[in-house]
Every structure is written in structure tokens, then in C-alpha cells.
């Protein structure tokens, strides 16, 4: 019975749990319930992935209404993969969360914090599960609104302004997306993605359709933080509570990449998106400028959280680059990096969160000698950093390999150079931290390692970083499968 309703359960369970958590008191009980929910969802997402791998695409009709009139939840290899990432990161983040939330969130707001977290998770999972274009907007807004609330709960007063500017830009993005979907509906008469895919080729010359495409791509790009629509990201990541940064850095932009890929390849189709519209010429240059400029700016940052935020903008550039290539190899690289980057960034932000928990600061100057005082935490940071640089035996290397190979196959040599330069810039900003932490003397030498509840999820992610950097069958297999599906489904 569960298997039948798997897809809807992934969304309904956190949705129903949210108001229950809001009614709980204290800080332990809400956390425990949220923890339970996230792990249940992780298990369900795993089962869903296995079901898709063995039985093919799942199609679930909400309320028994047949598509394309009813809302359909359609799970193929691509969104099963993304759903797993979201649920997995949520589960690990919650395992890590208790101490961090205790320190950073005001105690009377704690149940509301967990409520917002569950709603955010609902929104993100909803976006990945649904097969209806308007439903995507609904869940996009749910996840965005809860994210704004989560960010604003940071201790720093600037968290409020960061959340507000994200709210403005995010709403603009969502509105653009809505306009695009509305225009699509007006020319095709349907909102179901598969149905849209069938009808769009018939109207592909209409100006309205081109406009719809443009609105949707720009709207999603704002959510994606594609250069130059990324201005909300550095502040949002920096001033949000540590645990929020861990979660949204590893999930919300990834889900936006999923939406972009889904609309470009499944709904509009690669022939239209790249043949009729100049999408490659839009995405690729912006991706490259984004990855180079963001990496360069990251080097100058003294607040390490901000440095990693700019690093995220750069990594998103890599993913969009893969999509813009419009080849199976490029798409594989992009999807692979979605998974790998989630692992890397979550580990890095968790390490920073542990440093903040102990010292209340993530400024570079305050991290002197931290290598001796928090060896496990800084070890995790170094491992995540090496992955970001793309050292072999880490997931970052696998992503870079596939991306460079995809670029060489297309003969795009300047792009290869850009990708490599991005890695080299990463060496500079990661090594600044390593030098200060390991080779400079701090004020004292006493050990004050992070608590075990924070170390275990952190190192689970580091372990995954290395595991999937060596045994790539699962990740590369899934990414390739999803990429082929996307490229093949295009009419």
C-alpha cells in the first residue's frame, strides 16, 4: 500500500508533521519529531529510487483524477535522484541540528523553526515529485516562503535584511515563472508536463511560446542564483543560522537546477530550447562569467561563510554550463555535480557551523590554530575543500573529469580553460583557510572539538565524499541514466 502512494507520501508526511511540530513545546521534542520525519522521508526516497530503477517511471494521479486534467506526480530517473538528495541532506542536517539550533535560535522560536524547516522540505520535495507545471509554482512558493522565514531567524540583525532582499528577488523570480506558466497554458491549454511536451512542437513558432520560455528560464535562474541574478545568495547564506545554510546550500539551488533541466529538456524539448531559442548562448557565457567572477571574489572574503557562499555561486555555474552544452555528456556532468556538490557543501558548512558553535565567529582571523583545537572539524573542512578543488579520490574530481571531458568532446577549448581556472582559484581560497588553521598559532592550544552529534553527520558526509569519489557506479550510473532519459524524451 505504501509503495502505491509513495510519491504523495513524500510530500504529505512533512506537510502534516509541520503543524504538529508547531504545537510542541521545548526544544527537544520538536527536534526529535522532525528528525524522525526526515529519516522516514529519506527511507521513502530510497525506496522510490529503487522502484523507478526496477519498474520505470512512476505516475501517480492525485485524488484519482486522470491527467492531464488532474494533477499528476511523475517520477522518473531524474527526479527520483534529486528527491533522494533532498531527503538525504535533510536527514543528515537534522541529525546535526540539535546543538546548533540550541545555540543560534531563540528558544521560544525553536518549534516554529522546525515547522518552517519541515515546510521547506515539503516544498522542495513537492517540486521534485510533481508533473504539473503550476504545481511546481505552488511548491516553489511554499519552499521559498519558508526559506525566507528560516533565514530571518539568524542572530545577526542583518539576517532580516538578507531575508527581505531574498524575498523581493525570490518573489520576482517566482512571478516570472508564474507568468511563463500562464503563457504556456494560454497557448497549449494544459498544465501537465507530459501533455505540454506533446503540444508545444505544434505551436513552436508562436511568439507567445518563446516569451513563455524566456520568462520561465529567467524566473528559475533567479532561484538558481545564476550570474547576474545571484545577488541575494551571499547575504542569505552568510546571515542565516548555520543549520539553515547547510540545508539550503545543499538543496534549494539543486532543486532549481532540476526545474531548469526539466523544463528545458522534458517540457520544451532540446530541439526547441537549443534549436529555436539561443539558450546555449545565454547559459554558457553567464555560467562561465559566474564561475570565474564568484571564485575570484571568494578569494577576498574574510568571513569564511561568505567565501563558501560565493564558492556556491561558482559551482552553480559549473552545473548550468553542463546543461548549456545540450549533450548527453554535458547533462551527465551537470547532474553528477548536483549530487557531488550537495555532499561537498553540506560537509563544509557543517564544519563551519561547528566552529561557530564553539567560538561564535567564522572570521578567518579567529580561526588561527584551529587545526590543533578542533582536528576532526578542520579535517572535515580540508576534505570538503580538496573535493571543491577537484583532487582525485574525491567526488569533486569525478565531476570535473566529466565536465572537462564533455567540453573536449564538443571541442570547446576556452571552456576547458575556464573550468580549470575555476579549480585553480578554488585552491587559493581553500588554502588560505588551511594555512591559518594549521600553520598559525592560536590564542590557546586546548582541545575544544565539536560535540559528537555534530561530528558524526559531518564525517558521514566526508565519507560519502570519498566513497563516491572512488566507487562511482551509483552516482555516474544514475546521472547518465537521467541524462539519457532527458535527451531522449525530447520530441
Amino acid at each position: 500500500m505504501i509503495q502505491q502512494h509513495l510519491s504523495i507520501l513524500l510530500v504529505v508526511i512533512p506537510l502534516l508533521a509541520a503543524p504538529i511540530v508547531a504545537m510542541l513545546r521545548g526544544s527537544r521534542l520538536p527536534w526529535l519529531l522532525t528528525l524522525l520525519i526526515t529519516w522516514v522521508c529519506f527511507a521513502l526516497a530510497g525506496i522510490q529510487l529503487w522502484t523507478v530503477a526496477t519498474h520505470g517511471t512512476i505516475s501517480y494521479e492525485l485524488g484519482g483524477w486522470e491527467p492531464p486534467w488532474g494533477i499528476e506526480y511523475r517520477i522518473d530517473a531524474l527526479n527520483a535522484f534529486i528527491a533522494l538528495i533532498v531527503a538525504g541532506i535533510a536527514a543528515l542536517t537534522m541529525s546535526y541540528a540539535f546543538r546548533s539550533v540550541e545555540k543560534e535560535i531563540r528558544s521560544e522560536k525553536t518549534p516554529l523553526f522546525y515547522t518552517a524547516f519541515l515546510l521547506c522540505m515539503t516544498g522542495l520535495l513537492g517540486i521534485t515529485q510533481t508533473g504539473d507545471a503550476f504545481n511546481v509554482f505552488v511548491f516553489l512558493e511554499i519552499s521559498s516562503l519558508s526559506t525566507y522565514a528560516l533565514i530571518s531567524m539568524g542572530r545577526d540583525r542583518r539576517a532580516l535584511t538578507a531575508a527581505f532582499s531574498y524575498l523581493i528577488m525570490g518573489t520576482i523570480g517566482a512571478t516570472f515563472f508564474l507568468i511563463g506558466v500562464g503563457l504556456l497554458y494560454s497557448v497549449t491549454g494544459t498544465l501537465n508536463m507530459v501533455d505540454l511536451a506533446e503540444r508545444i512542437p505544434q505551436v513552436s513558432s508562436m511568439r507567445t511560446l518563446h516569451t513563455a520560455f524566456a520568462f520561465i528560464v529567467v524566473g528559475v535562474s533567479l532561484k538558481l542564483a545564476l550570474f547576474p541574478l545571484h545577488l541575494w545568495l551571499p547575504n542569505a547564506y552568510t546571515f542565516a543560522p548555520s543549520i539553515v545554510t547547510v540545508f539550503i546550500a545543499a538543496t534549494s539551488t539543486k532543486v532549481a537546477i532540476y526545474v531548469l533541466a526539466r523544463f528545458i529538456f522534458t517540457v520544451f524539448g532540446a530541439d526547441f530550447a537549443f534549436g529555436v531559442m539561443p539558450t546555449t548562448w545565454l547559459l554558457v557565457p553567464l555560467a562561465i562569467i559566474g564561475l570565474l567572477s564568484a571564485s575570484a571574489v571568494a578569494i577576498g572574503q574574510n568571513k569564511i561563510k561568505r567565501m563558501l557562499a560565493y564558492s556556491s555561486v561558482a559551482q552553480i555555474g559549473y552545473m548550468v554550463l553542463g546543461i548549456g552544452m545540450a549533450t548527453s555528456a554535458g547533462l551527465t556532468a551537470a547532474l553528477l555535480h548536483v549530487f557531488n556538490h550537495a555532499l561537498m557543501k553540506a560537509a563544509l558548512f557543517m564544519a563551519l557551523g561547528a566552529v561557530f558553535y564553539r567560538f561564535g565567529s567564522v572570521y578567518l582571523d579567529d580561526m588561527r590554530g584551529l587545526g590543533k583545537r578542533m582536528p576532526w572539524t578542520m579535517g572535515a573542512f580540508v576534505a570538503g575543500g580538496l573535493s571543491l578543488i577537484g583532487v582525485p579520490l574525491t567526488v569533486g574530481f569525478i565531476s570535473k573529469w566529466h565536465l572537462i571531458l564533455a567540453a573536449i568532446e564538443l571541442g570547446w577549448w576556452p571552456v576547458v580553460v575556464a573550468i580549470v581556472v575555476g579549480s585553480l582559484l578554488a585552491i587559493v581560497y581553500i588554502w588560505r583557510v588551511v594555512e591559518v588553521a594549521y600553520f598559525q598559532e592560536g590564542k590557546s592550544n586546548e582541545r575544544c572539538e565539536a560535540p559528537l552529534s555534530m561530528l558524526v553527520p559531518m564525517w558521514a558526509l566526508v565519507g560519502a565524499n570519498i566513497w563516491f569519489g572512488v566507487d562511482t557506479r551509483l552516482t555516474v550510473g544514475m546521472a547518465q541514466h537521467a541524462a539519457q532519459l532527458l535527451m531522449g524524451v525530447s520530441p
Binding site: 580538496l386 578543488i389 577537484g390 583532487v391 582525485p392 579520490l393 569525478i398 570535473k400 573529469w401 572537462i404 571531458l405 573536449i408 568532446e409 576547458v416 580549470v420 581556472v421 579549480s423 585553480l424 585552491i427 588554502w431 594555512e435 600553520f439 569519489g469 572512488v470 566507487d471 562511482t472 557506479r473 555516474v476
Partner: protein
């Protein structure tokens, strides 16, 4: 134990040794014993693999598939086993020397030193026995990262600056040039395996092949071809045992080994012979030899002078490999051994002089030969080997390189060799003369004799090896002539 198991053991032993060293950190004598035991165990394992190879066994093993169609795999052939023998053998000697140096100088962070030394050897073994370019690249990076804490050992601002240059140049060249070259090779040839005769025959145009070769030669920054050589003098901030490791045991040898292996087993000597633009890369190597010798002439700091001497000597090997003559390939391989013995002797003596007398400059060495006779005699032997005069090891490799030059009437190589021999003599011989035939300018602040006995033992051993190699080199030569049968002409 099969030979395939021995290959895996060759990687496992230094790694396990590192863990052991880390655990025994609080008991220095036990920790030092662990290092020596690990080094001896590794050397024995490599000897076992050598015997298997000589016995005609096919020695290879696959560890894990890391990307679709590509695995981390190990094998052995004459070049690999030579590098592995040099690295593992000299690790034993360097460990003895390090004990004397570290204790004589009362250095801090000794456990960190021995631990990362072991990991560096793990990387070196991986590079030596790699069966494809991907495996080699993985261990090449392990070597870079594990030697960073060794170069930065002293921890002061100077050491950090030097270590930053070291890491910066090596990572930039490896990720920026070496990796794209590897991926390009994979895209063109469909495989990265080391195959006798190369994998690029007929798959790439001549001009592209020359460009790819240049990417490799500059990308393998550890070979210190100009202009990616600056990390070598920068790394002189490290303690002398680390310099010995870098210059003789592992790092630079890994670099020139990689280039020679790529020339023979990725491109193929025959294939490169038909690429006219390949000569340009050879000219770059020759330019490096002469320029490095000229710069060495102007140095007053002993270790800096040795650093530039190494840059020149490394490019001998690259030059010989790119000369594409059968004998020059053999000469390149043998020079890996000859230079290792000679240079490690020279670095050991530099360190001994520092520990005993705190002297670091060339012009402070008047008359020191009478205070430290063992040390300065060893220095003289090492210097003669660099110049390439019998009865030292350097003569054997030079002989083969010159023979190779004549084989293909390569007068460029001949000219470079003659010029650099003269220059090398010009910067080394005055030191020997000064040490033995000139009186001390002023009595030293503290009366001193030889350095601690472990250091003198180590440097005497390597000096003896330098001499012995001249007389007993036929097993090595015969082994390396096997490259000709496999990959040369």
C-alpha cells in the same frame, strides 16, 4: 605471496607504517624503529617484485574501477621497478640520516615529519607502479599533498611562503596542464593504459601531438622544466632530510619518471620520431639544462646551488628521453639512479655541515675538509658524479646519453652536455678545492668535528653507492635495456 599481491603490499606497507608512526608518536625510539622497519619491509617487497619481473612473470593487478572503463591498476616494467628500488632503498638511508638530523637539531613536530614522509613514499610507490595515467595522476597528487607539511615543517613565515610557492606551482601545473592533457589523451585514444609502443599512434595529428607533449612536460611540474621550476629553490626552506627526499628519493624522480614513462608508453618513441615539432620541446629541456647551470654558478647558498644543479640534472633526463634514441632512453633511466645517489650525498653533506658548524654559504667552507673529512670527501664524490667523471655513477648515465646522441646524430644534445659539464665543474670544483686546499679564514665560533654519527653513516653509504654503481652497474643496465625491447626501437 604472488607478485600481484606484492604490488598491493608495496602500497599498503608505507600506509600502514604511517599509521604506526602516528600511534607511536609519544615514544621517539619506538617511532624511529617503526620508520626503519617500514622502510626495510618496503624495500624487501620491491626486491620481491623485481625478482618476479626478472623471472618473466607478468606482474599486474587492478584495484578498483573509479570511472566507467577506467580503473586504478598497478603493473611493473623495467622503468617502474627502477624508480621503486631507488625510492624504497634510499628511504632507509634517509631515515637513518633524518634521525641524526632531527635529534641533532632538536626539531619540533618530529612525528608529523615521519608520518608524512611515509605517506609521501606511499604516493611514490603508487606513481612507480601505476599501470595507467589515471592511477599515476591520483598518486602524483597524493605525493604533492603529502609533501606540503614536510616543506612547511619549520612553520615560520619563511617556511610557509616557500611551501605556498611549492604547493601553488605543483597544483597549478597538475590541475591546470597535466589533468587536461590526460583527459585530452583519454578523449583521443579511448584509454589511458601504459602500452609498449604507445596508445596515440595514428589517433592525433602531428601538431596536436607536439602540443600535447608540451602540456605533459610542463604539466608534470615535478620535473622542474623551465619555466615551472621555481618550486625547487622555494622548497629549500625545508629541513635537509626533506630536501633529500624531494630531490633524490621521491618528488623530482617521480616527475622525470612520469615524463619518461609518458614518452615511451603513451606516445611511443617511434610515433614521436615522426613529429617534427617534438624537437621544440627537446630544445626547451636543453635550454633548462644550460640556464640552470648558469644560475647555479651565481649562487652562494649551498642548498640553493644544489637546487639549481638538480633542475639542470633533471632536464638531462627529460632531454635524453626526448632525444628518442634507444641508448638515450636507457641513459635517462640510469640517470634516475645515478643522480639520486649523487644528489642525496650532496644534500646529506650540506645538512651535516649545517648541523655541525651552522654554516650555509659556499664561501664559508674554507679548510672545512680537514675538520669534516668524511663529509667533504663524500661531497667531492657527489660533485664528481654531477660532473660525470669516472669512477662515479654520473659517468655511466652520461656515457649512454652521449651514445644515444651519436646514434641519431643529435648534435644539440651533445653540445648541451659538453657545455653543462663544463659549467657544473665550474661551480662544484672550487668548493672542493676551497675545502681541502685552502686554510680556514678564521677559527669557527665553536670547535667542531663531524656531524652526528647517523648522518655520517648515511652520507658515507650513499657516497659509496655512487662509487660502487660505476663498477657494478650491469644488472641495472641490462634491466633497462629491456625498455628497448618493450617500448623503444
Amino acid at each position: 605471496m604472488t607478485a600481484a599481491m606484492a604490488l598491493q603490499l608495496a602500497l599498503l606497507v608505507p600506509l600502514a607504517g604511517a599509521a604506526l608512526i602516528g600511534l607511536l608518536g609519544r615514544w621517539p625510539n619506538l617511532r624511529e624503529t617503526a620508520t626503519l622497519a617500514t622502510a626495510t619491509a618496503l624495500f624487501s617487497t620491491v626486491i620481491y617484485i623485481l625478482l618476479a619481473l626478472l623471472g618473466g612473470e607478468v606482474v599486474e593487478t587492478t584495484l578498483i574501477e573509479i570511472l566507467p572503463g577506467m580503473s586504478i591498476a598497478l603493473h611493473t616494467e623495467p622503468l617502474s621497478i627502477l624508480f621503486a628500488l631507488v625510492a624504497s632503498g634510499l628511504w632507509i638511508v634517509t631515515s637513518v640520516y633524518s634521525i641524526g638530523y632531527m635529534r641533532g637539531n632538536n626539531e619540533k613536530n618530529q612525528t608529523r615529519f615521519y608520518l608524512f614522509f611515509a605517506i609521501a613514499l606511499f604516493g611514490a610507490m603508487g606513481v612507480a607502479f601505476a599501470a595507467n595515467l589515471m592511477t599515476l595522476f591520483v598518486f602524483y597528487e597524493v605525493l604533492t599533498l603529502s609533501t606540503y607539511p614536510l616543506v612547511a615543517h619549520k612553520g615560520d613565515a619563511n617556511a610557509l611562503k616557500g611551501a605556498r610557492t611549492y604547493l601553488g606551482i605543483l597544483l597549478v601545473t597538475s590541475i591546470g596542464l597535466f589533468l587536461p592533457a590526460i583527459i585530452w589523451t583519454y578523449a583521443v585514444a579511448g584509454t589511458l593504459d601504459f602500452v609498449p609502443g604507445g596508445i596515440l599512434e595514428g589517433k592525433i595529428s602531428d601538431s596536436m601531438a607536439a602540443l600535447l607533449l608540451l602540456l605533459f612536460v610542463l604539466g608534470v611540474g615535478k620535473a622542474a622544466v623551465m619555466p615551472v621550476h621555481r618550486w625547487l629553490p622555494a622548497a629549500m626552506v625545508a629541513p635537509t632530510p626533506v630536501s633529500a627526499l624531494l630531490h633524490a628519493v621521491a618528488v623530482v624522480k617521480a616527475g622525470v619518471f612520469t615524463i619518461t614513462k609518458i614518452v615511451i608508453y603513451i606516445f611511443g618513441v617511434d610515433m614521436l620520431a615522426h613529429v617534427p615539432a617534438e624537437k621544440l620541446v627537446m630544445y626547451l629541456a636543453g635550454f633548462t639544462v644550460v640556464t640552470a647551470s648558469l644560475i647555479a654558478l651565481r649562487q652562494t647558498n649551498i642548498k640553493r646551488m644544489l637546487a639549481y644543479s638538480t633542475i639542470g640534472q633533471l632536464s638531462y633526463i627529460v632531454l635524453a628521453a626526448l632525444a628518442l634514441a634507444p641508448y638515450s632512453e636507457v641513459g635517462a633511466a640510469i640517470h634516475i639512479v645515478a643522480h639520486a645517489f649523487g644528489k642525496i650525498t650532496l644534500f646529506f653533506t650540506a645538512g651535516a655541515i649545517y648541523v655541525a658548524s651552522k654554516k650555509t654559504e659556499v664561501n664559508q667552507l674554507h679548510g672545512i675538509g680537514w675538520r669534516m673529512p668524511w663529509t667533504m670527501t663524500a661531497f667531492a664524490i657527489g660533485a664528481l658524479s654531477m660532473i660525470g667523471v669516472p669512477p662515479t655513477a654520473g659517468f655511466v648515465s652520461k656515457w649512454f646519453i652521449i651514445a644515444g646522441a651519436f646514434q641519431l646524430e643529435n648534435y644539440f644534445v651533445l653540445g648541451v652536455l659538453i657545455l653543462s659539464t663544463g659549467l657544473t665543474a665550474a661551480y662544484f670544483l672550487p668548493i672542493v678545492f676551497r675545502a681541502f686546499f685552502q686554510k680556514e679564514l678564521e677559527p669557527p665560533a665553536k670547535d667542531h668535528g663531524e656531524a652526528p654519527w647517523q648522518m655520517v653513516l648515511a652520507l658515507s653509504t650513499t657516497a659509496a653507492l655512487t662509487l660502487l654503481f660505476f663498477f657494478f652497474n650491469s644488472p641495472v643496465v641490462l634491466l633497462e635495456l629491456g625498455i628497448l625491447g618493450m617500448g623503444g626501437k
